[in-house]
Symmetry: D2
Subunit: 345 residues, 4 copies
Amino acid sequence: MKVGIIGANGYGGVELLRLLKQHPCVSVEKTISHSTQGCKLTEQYPHLNNVYEMTLEKIDIEGIARNVDLLFFATPSGVSKEIIPLFLEREIKCIDLSGDFRLKNGLLYEKWYKNTQAKNEHLQNATYGLTELFRSEIKNGHLIANPGCYPTATLLGLYPALKAKWIDPKSIIIDGKSGISGAGRNTSIGNLFAEINENMKAYKIGLHQHIPEIEQNLKVISGEETRITFTTHLVPMTRGIMCTIYVDLMESIRTQEMIDLYKETYKNEYFVRIRSANEWPATKEVTGSNFCDIGLKVDERTNRLVIVSAIDNLVKGAAGQAIQNMNVMNDWHEKTGLELVPLYP
Amino acid sequence: MKVGIIGANGYGGVELLRLLKQHPCVSVEKTISHSTQGCKLTEQYPHLNNVYEMTLEKIDIEGIARNVDLLFFATPSGVSKEIIPLFLEREIKCIDLSGDFRLKNGLLYEKWYKNTQAKNEHLQNATYGLTELFRSEIKNGHLIANPGCYPTATLLGLYPALKAKWIDPKSIIIDGKSGISGAGRNTSIGNLFAEINENMKAYKIGLHQHIPEIEQNLKVISGEETRITFTTHLVPMTRGIMCTIYVDLMESIRTQEMIDLYKETYKNEYFVRIRSANEWPATKEVTGSNFCDIGLKVDERTNRLVIVSAIDNLVKGAAGQAIQNMNVMNDWHEKTGLELVPLYP
Amino acid sequence: MKVGIIGANGYGGVELLRLLKQHPCVSVEKTISHSTQGCKLTEQYPHLNNVYEMTLEKIDIEGIARNVDLLFFATPSGVSKEIIPLFLEREIKCIDLSGDFRLKNGLLYEKWYKNTQAKNEHLQNATYGLTELFRSEIKNGHLIANPGCYPTATLLGLYPALKAKWIDPKSIIIDGKSGISGAGRNTSIGNLFAEINENMKAYKIGLHQHIPEIEQNLKVISGEETRITFTTHLVPMTRGIMCTIYVDLMESIRTQEMIDLYKETYKNEYFVRIRSANEWPATKEVTGSNFCDIGLKVDERTNRLVIVSAIDNLVKGAAGQAIQNMNVMNDWHEKTGLELVPLYP
Amino acid sequence: MKVGIIGANGYGGVELLRLLKQHPCVSVEKTISHSTQGCKLTEQYPHLNNVYEMTLEKIDIEGIARNVDLLFFATPSGVSKEIIPLFLEREIKCIDLSGDFRLKNGLLYEKWYKNTQAKNEHLQNATYGLTELFRSEIKNGHLIANPGCYPTATLLGLYPALKAKWIDPKSIIIDGKSGISGAGRNTSIGNLFAEINENMKAYKIGLHQHIPEIEQNLKVISGEETRITFTTHLVPMTRGIMCTIYVDLMESIRTQEMIDLYKETYKNEYFVRIRSANEWPATKEVTGSNFCDIGLKVDERTNRLVIVSAIDNLVKGAAGQAIQNMNVMNDWHEKTGLELVPLYP
């Protein structure tokens, strides 16, 4: 199958290139970048020498549509909502790694993203691409709204307990911690090595655009409107997201019962790994891979459940899950091209 | 004044040495280390060349008592409870950086530290050394139980709102994040650079020995028995602790009102700095200094308060606060020797 | 083909496991560890959950010999020289990642490794496994002495110019810089995160055991006895080695001529990438991959050549090159299982 | 004494602020920044809250000249050469941390800095501020050209052996390694955390503007024209420079003799610390301090001397040495305000 990448010059695009190289059924035919059109990929990313000798092209709708079967969008927010409709008309399937089509309620997009929403028709037709939860819809999707990194870690972490109604959806608090690659390859003082190294910062507390995305999908799971408290912190590492989630239990449940519920729920999910009692995930244990690792503890002193969920933000939180979705859409084995062992140490 | 350091070979001891060098009223007369007795300090820490040319000695109660007026204990837990009574008998004031005398209820020590408790008489006579909250008791103290790093950040972060009864003590959740120096200079696979770098891990969730210390002092502030949910995470940095605290509001309060309350409460406290709305602390902004930086936000969507509190775990969370307490005990200006500007970048 | 790994619990062993998972012709049948025998691999390395569910076994010569065709040794120095002969007798091919069989002159081993040498018969039969230089010998080898990390970067960096006699072998100076994973998963104060982070140290200057290994192979290339100056430095990163090499030119040559020579020499070598003028390698550009990146500059002011060579010490400097050698020994395509794109960022 | 800082918003300026806070004889009256004039210092650097509550002002020659006795210039290259003459006319002493007045030969400035040179009169009157070597000239200086970070480490490392004529000046090779703060607070893709972390890069090899500065001062020491080979590498740390220097011995000398020579030469220099045989400097051992640590080894196999020299680039390599020079100019004790213990760990 022939694929293209719009926004190939960012970290999400480059991670797609890394992973697609391992994929036996796919060839990358087009790499598009608005800001660096005309450059060779290797000028921007010398690590791709001998691997991808292509040039970054400007966007040419017809030219791309003739040459690819599926497109990945790894563009900044606000871009894909303008372009994807043109490719859908031409029957090119699209997987969008940005947030443009994730919120069914366009007004929420306008509020949290400070931008005009996509056409409602497209919002309603888009499929939210959290593979483990929405596999059957993804299979028939034409436009996949690939989830954000924090929502992926959070929703996989909450799903079994919330589905089982063992926890109170009104009590959800999520403490998110992210490596700096989530900020993209954008120059700003706050992203400089000298400012980030040996440093941890809180940022955008209560203002992060992933809040409505999480809330929308918690409602899909629980059937109830849900308001969450969600905070975000920058950690001095390049890759990795960890969400520590706090939630009140509806009844008294022991840690082991909770772990059993999670293991049972995810027993057929290769990419979700549930830890044993008192063992906790570490982001490095998923680096470079599509795994989501989850640890659980019932705090019996306060009757709360603590969930710790870790992913590589660029893989399961972006490019890896996009490829997982592509596999589902094509009826390929879901692990195809994604059986990468985490890079440890 | 002549001081000594028991446990001078650990990171806490070495940080005391760094800070005491700037102190105009103090000379370090004795540096004691059980594990490295007989070594020169500079063999263990070459950065001290030209600064401290002393030898690490073995413990000799009489010899020390004759030569110092005040002792700092930077020993692993379980050590000072055996030795401090011998010095108190000899009228040497003691500041203990370990947890041995922090819990008034010795049974809690036995449960959380898995060790026998100190004599009850000493537990009751010890003064909890969170300077900003217990200054007058510290002034007359002979045995100061210097607070743990997480409790310092947490209690300073909660004090004004809890004192004002604006928040519900039953709802407190603390998400703690720490640099690796908190683990001390102990060799274990989990502390190796290759295991910690580019990694974030949760650890000891619900089991951390700082839980009863925080709860005991929350009760002192609020008058109510309190159970907290407390989690801890290792962040790939050497210094710094950040606690993100979640708590339900008792009534509707705006962020700015909360900030005003904190600014008012701490208006005479040089070492506590309250951030403006939507500005958040970063651990590097306190590195090497005795500051505690606090950011605040009322999440109006969920009626919760989010508090972010940051300190350098080795300074305000250990050696710096110990010196601050020594200053109070001696009626010196509290900032003496502690006006260090954070090392940034 | 069935393979086993002796010393599977170290970083070299674990990196073999990561890479072999991608290899289409190989199954790992045995993972042996002296120090952690009886443990599941996932207890030592949770990142291997769902990937390798094997147990670390103790060494059982007969049992292993019956079950594998080829063995990798990722053992500390001094181990394989005792064990490999037992497997060679049983016609199991061996690839040794340690230094035990690299030096033809056993006395040099004794001097630099402070240990008794292997049997001379085995030393003489061992093939030095720097694939690009000794491919034909490796093809027929039964015992491959896989090169050290510094020698790999150094020899690939010097080979074309030395072979062409454009540089003076008596003038070679090598400034080596390594990430900390080269020190293995060994607990020592010097390897702790708090000691390594934000730190760079020189170590073992003039004493490193890779000196005789480099000199032996420089003589193979140039035909002359050679003495090098070689220094080593620890850099606060987990993976990566960079060698900056200084050497006097025999005649006046321009940078571009030198680059052309290197490009021509390595034109059929997928894993060696020569940079253009004034472009320099970075270790992250090879992380997780088997590439060796080389940059070159003639310093016309001093008539010296500067060579910068970068590899991932655990891949091209250890496990990756071992697999490359296995591919050569089996007449598989040399890239089999090794077409991994560097993990960037 | 009243001082001002021109370029107070960069890392050099902020480090001056940190150090001057400890200085008993100085008050900072003016902080000038072209790019952020009108901002409070704490807006740019929140770590300065409660410490410096001043505003960054635009440059006003008369206003500054009336209010300060001495000015520090921490400006990008090309700025101070225009402004310093105006202050010299007004009898304000100037210490310039940029390279504008370091090269006596203005043509070399034009070649290496790609900019027009300062007036020759000022170039000739400027005093090169490597304190340990040029103390008496500095004492009477009005315009101090504070040395670059690499030259400081290099020249202190070479001085005793070169002065003693034990080494061949024609053979000097310097392998420089620097933390990223040397690049300043400038946004560029190459300085982003995600690009620098877990990465080491060579850069500007043979092109660095510190080459003529080093060569000029080597000639002052040895009396001979000298050409060096000098390379530079970025290391994933914020602070710290290490120079590893290779040089041929003129005669056979043992390591201990060399160490003795260095200890003798620097016996009265508090800030230069010579290591014992087989002990090597580490950058973290000087972090935050004005020390320069030097390790030495004669490689008897090749008759070369290896020198390893480490400083904190922002302290001894910039702001600290500037203050040391100010102390000399004012006949204050040279250590005044600079007795900071390195921040370790």
